[in-house]
Symmetry: C2
Subunit: 475 residues, 2 copies
């Protein structure tokens, strides 16, 4: 009998399959039932909320329950040179979770413990699978809250990875401003801490901020320390309807330029109002509206609201309709957060291609109005919502995923919108990340030199290119 062919002599394709098989065996030996190759599990981990054409799912899914689990899984992946795709709740809109180069999905959703609440310091330390709603639920009794709120009930790990924000960013900032410290598993499986619980620091490179927004391409987040805030003494929410999008936007611009410390100011166009009414059983007037919230002392809230009402009236806005109870307020904001899903329901079987441009506030009206005109002219179904206080807004183009014409029309609209935003000093992505879809836009925005610098950092920290490869940029 001949000895078996040594692995180094095998043809590359076969060699890869042997290695993949050995890798999965090694994972199973280490993780037992927390490692799955069941097709249903793999498929669930091979997609996200985006409209991307699907690729084959990851070969294997590992459910981590501890930092050590993450480290061990990454070490095995490094040993076998297999891609690692960190997975939270799967709410990405940019294809971050797709296994475009195969590999292992590393699901951290079972790491959902709140490790410590330091109410006196206004900080909280959580595992990466904790979702934003879970965190606020657990903070409720402390009189504190965490303000960052993307539409989905995302995991905090995912929110770090995409540098997420949401409706409160106009006052409280984004994940960039609200993460104090991280524990990170490097591409070699080493456990590293970045930052401290001190409010500020100038101790060395800002590794925390480097990982915030790195989309899983530099390592896996295993622990997160966040800023939290005292619930404001008074909160008031109001809706103001406007005769046009322009009137609503010009009102917003003036609010921001006057430095009024509004907590939230969201634009909802008449399409979105119609979808939201149907989905959340509301009866809002089908006109462009601003949904606003004011935080502060009772006097300060009153003062802010009076100033904003004056500005709105100048631009033809109607009388504020106030949310009279906390429940009514929650209902309005839930409706706002569900716009994306309301829109998907409005056209059964459709998928949404969501834009994410953000421009300096002085250019917001120009950018928005030109883009609305262009989108209307295209004949596509769409909705428009915006964190307009930050200059960030989302068109959702509702396409039939099997209709190539609709898809290419939507892509062309997005392309024009991004070019317009960049020419106005803006960004192609305010809060969703680059993922698969915006790699070309990133080069347009940052320039080849800056993207090359990102690649250099990536290659240095992940020389095997195993951390979520094929996202943000091609290496």
């Amino acid at each position: 009998m001949n000895a078996p062919t040594p692995i180094s002599h095998l043809a590359p394709e076969i060699k890869q399959r042997v290695i993949a098989g050995e890798f999965i065996e090694a994972l199973k030996a280490r993780f037992a039932s927390a490692c799955s190759t069941a097709m249903a599990v793999r498929e669930q981990h091979g997609r996200d909320e985006s409209a991307f054409v699907s690729v084959p799912p990851p070969s294997v899914v590992v459910f981590a329950q501890s930092t050590k689990d993450i480290a061990d899984a990454v070490k095995l992946a490094a040993q076998y040179s297999v891609p690692v795709i960190p997975f939270g709740v799967g709410s990405s809109l940019e294809g971050h979770l797709l296994a475009v180069q195969g590999g292992m999905s590393l699901d951290v959703s079972k790491m959902d413990k709140i490790l410590s609440i330091n109410a006196e310091d206004l900080t909280v330390t959580v595992q990466p699978g904790v979702t934003r709603m879970q965190l606020n639920q657990e903070l409720k009794s402390t009189g504190l809250f965490f303000p960052i709120d993307p539409g989905a009930n995302a995991s905090l790990g995912g929110m770090c990875a995409t540098r997420a924000s949401g409706t409160n960013a106009v006052r409280y900032g984004t994940m960039r401003e609200n993460v104090l410290a991280l524990e990170v598993v490097s591409a070699e499986g080493e456990i590293i801490r970045t930052g401290t619980r001190a409010k500020k620091s100038s101790a060395g490179y800002d590794l925390t901020r480097l990982f915030i927004g790195s989309e899983g391409t530099l390592g896996v987040l295993s622990e997160i320390t966040l800023k939290i805030y005292p619930l404001p003494e008074a909160i008031s929410a109001a809706i103001c309807s406007f005769p046009s999008i322009e009137a609503a936007v010009r009102t917003t611009i003036q609010i921001i330029q006057m430095g009024i410390p509004i907590a939230r100011v969201e634009l909802i166009d008449k399409n979105s109002v119609r979808m939201v009414n149907a989905h959340s059983k509301l009866t809002l007037a089908e006109q462009p509206l601003l949904l606003m919230e004011f935080h502060g002392s009772p006097d300060s809230v009153k003062e802010q609201a009076t100033s904003v009402q004056e500005i709105a009236t100048e631009f033809g806005g109607e009388e504020f309709e106030w949310a009279s109870t906390p429940e009514e307020r929650t209902r309005l904001w839930s409706a706002r957060h569900n716009t994306y899903f309301a829109a998907l329901q409005s056209r059964p079987g459709c998928r949404a291609i969501s834009t994410d441009t953000c421009v300096p506030i002085s250019r917001l009206a120009d950018c928005l109005l030109e883009s609305v005109e262009e989108t209307e002219a295209s004949g596509l179904s769409y909705f428009l919502v915006g964190h307009v206080g930050d200059g960030n807004f989302h068109f959702g183009y509702l396409i039939d995923p099997n209709n190539e014409h609709e898809r290419s029309t939507a892509e062309a609209l997005n392309h024009k919108l991004v070019a317009r935003a960049l020419s106005m000093g803006g960004t192609c992505s305010g809060e969703h990340g680059i993922g698969l879809h915006k790699m070309g836009f990133l080069i347009d925005e940052a320039g080849e030199g800056a993207v090359q610098m990102m690649r250099t950092i990536k290659k240095a920290l992940d020389p095997q290119n195993i951390m979520n490869p094929g996202k943000i940029f091609s290496v």
Copy 2:
């Protein structure tokens, strides 16, 4: 006649001198009178405000007047493998400017133009040599201001490089939160832009934040886009004297924990009061005091001040003394900013070793009081001031630079203080940077793994190690 020995055959030392000579010749050919080897100029660029024992000055100083100047100087340095030390106004407290491995000081102080003020977007773009006071002077007529204010009238480039903050950080954040975009010259002399003028972005790695706090070790900042703020409608400043440091600190902790949006809250101990009285011709009571400022609408300022006075009274604080005019307010804050220089004058010929720890607010009293006791027991002259709203404070140990005992006593106190702050979840540096002095502390704080990750980034972006080598960490 023999041909001259080829340079590659020369002894290493001689080879280095030949290269240095050729490098300086090349600089002179390119920069003419903007390149100086005069000893007085070199010595002025070979030191900073710290108490570090001096090292030989840089071999040459180049005065850049444009981004192209910076790029050309760095390209020549890269060609000859010569260190580049960016220089603003020389106000570092951590030895950042010392030519510990020789090389070229690249002075950007003549790049002092404000390139654009976008009042509508609350942004400004400046060259790196613009100082914080110059910027606010030029913003005066617009009703806008830039809040970050380290003690010295630092350059904005230097403030970016050290991730500086100051007295307003408690409300407005630090340089980390207030820089939107940068133009950077890489270690290869390539010009790169990071960030845009949009308020938020999730487009790729946060190169902006990577350069903020990189202390000149990754590249040279050539242009900076900052956030600016509307001058508050109302500003009130008050002094409140306390029976003890503890009473002042406990008052501060409660202000912060209650979420009162105070703009500035500075602790000044009785030693500092005495020094400041002498230097700035004031007559403040020689007791620990808080110097505070409230920003907002007239009503909100009144409301904040009332709440704070109530808290202070509870802890034995006296009636607020209000700065009744803007001039009086400016006089108080100038006195605060000059504490460091007032302290140096209090003991002719002395140098100050300044500590810079920052801890979570709940640990501030413990950290401060233990350290005060320890410092009192040492018998060293000292002063204590603090951005206590952020948990950040500075002891200044006033030593005779020629007295080895005093120096070692101060070093030992600093060491104990840092260990204490780290054990409390704090940082060794709130705002001055690591520079030369705190490399060991950085490893204690961040761990060898995180520092190794910083080194990996450094090596990838500056493979020749020419950008301010020997700072932050040894490579």
